[in-house]
Chain length 155, copies 2
């Protein structure tokens, strides 16, 4: 239930602050190592690029704030998207689980059905064999009766 929390914002309303800077700016930020101007390249420290770079990081700059604001929005958007995707994935898992159960049930049914038919088939085969052995090629009344029996069992 946390709702109000305005970590890095300026006093007052959240939106655009009057003085921002505090932001992360906890201590002072030193440059660790970065912005390596490539290896042998540009031997001009005071180049225009340097100037721009500096400006780009000027927290008081208007453009800076604008950029930050945009990035913050992008971040929010991206995170929302990410969260959504994660949720979708979870949903997908449940979906697949259900599908799985459905398939397993179907397999069970088919297997059962198959078993019945196979048994029937085998039984009938035996009868046939018997009949074939005792009689010639024509169906007899007995056969018919048997068949009837099978029929009833099957249905």
């Amino acid at each position: 239930m946390s709702k109000i929390s305005q970590p890095n914002s300026t006093p007052g309303v959240n939106g655009i602050s009057v003085i921002h800077t505090q932001a992360h700016a906890r201590g002072l930020q030193q440059v660790p190592q970065l912005v390596p101007a490539g290896p042998g390249e540009e031997a001009k420290p005071g180049s225009q690029q340097a100037e721009q770079k500096k400006l780009a990081h000027d927290r008081n700059s208007d453009g800076y704030r604008q950029r930050r604001e945009r990035n913050n929005m992008a971040v929010k958007k991206s995170r929302l998207k990410s969260k959504q995707k994660a949720q979708d994935t979870l949903q997908r898992v449940n979906q697949l689980k259900e599908e799985n159960e459905r398939l397993e049930a179907k397999i069970k049914l088919l297997t059962k059905e198959l078993r019945v038919l196979k048994d029937l088939f085998l039984e009938h085969a035996h009868n046939l064999a018997d009949n074939v052995q005792s009689i010639s090629t024509e169906n007899t009344t007995a056969d018919a009766a048997q068949n009837d029996n099978l029929f009833e069992i099957f249905f």
Copy 2:
């Protein structure tokens, strides 16, 4: 808007840069910052509670840094865990997908097998119907036809 926690502003000059985790340490400038006294509100400057609160948030405090450090670790840990979980979920999805394919293949096989057996029975059913028709005085051709129909429906 109520008690605004004064976020990250470094009180006056933070001479503690050393302490700070190099953390982000990127910007290249120090932040001159402000101490935004909240909107006119300190009605009780001498409040003990206020004092304590303040102390708890005193960035210069030794305990403060310690707490921050611990929390940062906890955060990292938590996020790692979260990421891991997400990864597991994705893996679960693939696992279920495979399982599904396996099941579908099995169903296909069973269905095919079933089809063969059913066809056999179906063929036999015709003979049966014929027999039934011939040996039963009440049965009519219509009955036989209906049986055929049932077969088709059932199989």
